[in-house]
Subunit: 366 residues, 2 copies
Amino acid sequence: MTITVGALREAAAGERRVAITPEVARKLHGKGVRVLLEHGAGEAAGFPDQSYAEATFADAQQVLAQADLLACVLPPVDAVFEQMREGATVVGQLRPHGAATRIAALGRRKLTAFALELLPRTTRAQAMDVLSSQAAVAGYRAMLIAAEACPKFFPMLTTAAGTIRPSRVLVIGAGVAGLQAIATARRLGAQTEGYDVRPETREQIESLGAKFLDLGVSAAGTGGYARELSVEERAAQQQALADHLKVVDVIVTTAAVPGRPAPKILTAAMVGGMKPGALIVDLAAEGGGNCELTRPGERVEHAGVTILGPLNLPAGAPLHASEMYARNVYNFTELLLRDGAIAPDFSDELVARTCLSHGGEPRFQG
Amino acid sequence: MTITVGALREAAAGERRVAITPEVARKLHGKGVRVLLEHGAGEAAGFPDQSYAEATFADAQQVLAQADLLACVLPPVDAVFEQMREGATVVGQLRPHGAATRIAALGRRKLTAFALELLPRTTRAQAMDVLSSQAAVAGYRAMLIAAEACPKFFPMLTTAAGTIRPSRVLVIGAGVAGLQAIATARRLGAQTEGYDVRPETREQIESLGAKFLDLGVSAAGTGGYARELSVEERAAQQQALADHLKVVDVIVTTAAVPGRPAPKILTAAMVGGMKPGALIVDLAAEGGGNCELTRPGERVEHAGVTILGPLNLPAGAPLHASEMYARNVYNFTELLLRDGAIAPDFSDELVARTCLSHGGEPRFQG
């Protein structure tokens, strides 16, 4: 029997991505899978229904009634699960932490659900790693937002009326988002620095042509891990950062830890010491922000400094974000398929560790 | 007697630039000129009052009562002129075309006014050329707005989940704004093309690493000027452009002519043929737009294509835009000063051609 993979039009406010793109629909079709999408599912991402040559379109109720596997970008409201066929599978970002109610809703329909945020960060998982692919989009977009909101030019400009000096940009946190933000600032010609508590990021930051900001306090420990700083060392580090911020035009902070509140790195006092006209874009706003003054989704002015806390940055570049996301979903879904049926192999750690609920039995305590 | 150069806080909605920056205040001070600014004049540009070491601050009325020369970014409302001292001078962008009422207001106070938009585009005028300096800011910002609003990445991205192809960007019009837009798109890694009816722009476009879009219709005439196209040639050119637009992700149009309505280059039918998710940023929105569908200051959706018509783009990067503008004003003001007095030399074409009103006598019919 042919299995059906479905996707709805995402319902969250401002969400423009789609979990199945025309490219992935074609690949699923090639595997003998039927693709069933809600009317207009890809429209906001730049994929109108007619761009899906290998998919069938129906209303949401029909998609839910027929899908053996439902792919989603963000978790749907719990009522959606109630409309699914018993024993079906859900794959996507399911925000597993603190999601007891959601897991209970999955249980009522005996659903099996995989939260892709829980993938281990191994080599094999990279092709499915939605956190990485979407963080790349977030880092790129955060820096574009910064460039657009900045009262200065990023690049140096030589004009008949003299030279305009490039902006000084600091990116805090050099994970996927941070590195993409650094790359974007460099492309735009800004004088760019990156900072991370993990000393091994120095090489990655420098390989992008940026400078590693050295605060003179080394947290290098044994085995490549950062060691805990003493209270005095931490105070010295904070002071060194505060002093450095006085010359910076733009900060993009990217120190987000999924499912946990974002670490507070920039204090109100540090912001108060910055130049008038300086700008902070806090990519960690969703988790409360890396800056004490950040208000998620809002623009804050403090002592002449602007702090932006944009939400759901990947949804702002929905076409490419969806392309990467759908490929991640496809690569994970391949793991679940065997002989034309959905048959997850729980001896595979990628399957086992992402499972929220199996046949309705909770598998994750977030 | 010491002369006083003044500037107000700009009053137009959304205007954040200032005509006198701390750098220019210092230079004027060095020439023995007193600088008198309205409280907060530079604040929105990132120059709080305390950043001006060599200026005096007062309220608007005092500035107007004491200024021998008033510098402005945009023309103030006519009532402002009435508060100036008789015979004083005004320098700035004065929107001279169709400004009979403004010229009459200048006359009532016997003011002498210079509209910097009227500078001839000669080598000597370059250092004062506000249209060029502000167009550079506009072109840069238009492309940032495009990158931010684009559903795709501009650069190519190689990820664990496959490659993301770069966006295809077309810039129409290769003047100062267009070339800056091209440079910005190139910096961001987009596949960039430039188009202009003037064949001599090919070299400039190519020197930025972009491709010159050749529509196969040559308008090359004698003496380096473009010749008028025949009706058939123009139709062929339009058709070739429409065909080409089908593969483009982003268009930035920059064909603006100061004081005249912008030429309509993109028809509704051309837009209708573009890809869903495509984006047009119309830098000529202020003059009505280069696209038939543009609504100044608004966002229009048409057949899946988004058309943005942003207004006053230079005000969005007020710090650097003001730095360049103030240098332009300073360089022009130097022309007017002789032995510590304002003594315009009307035998200088830069002075003669920009003069709107001399001692109240109208000098320009716009």
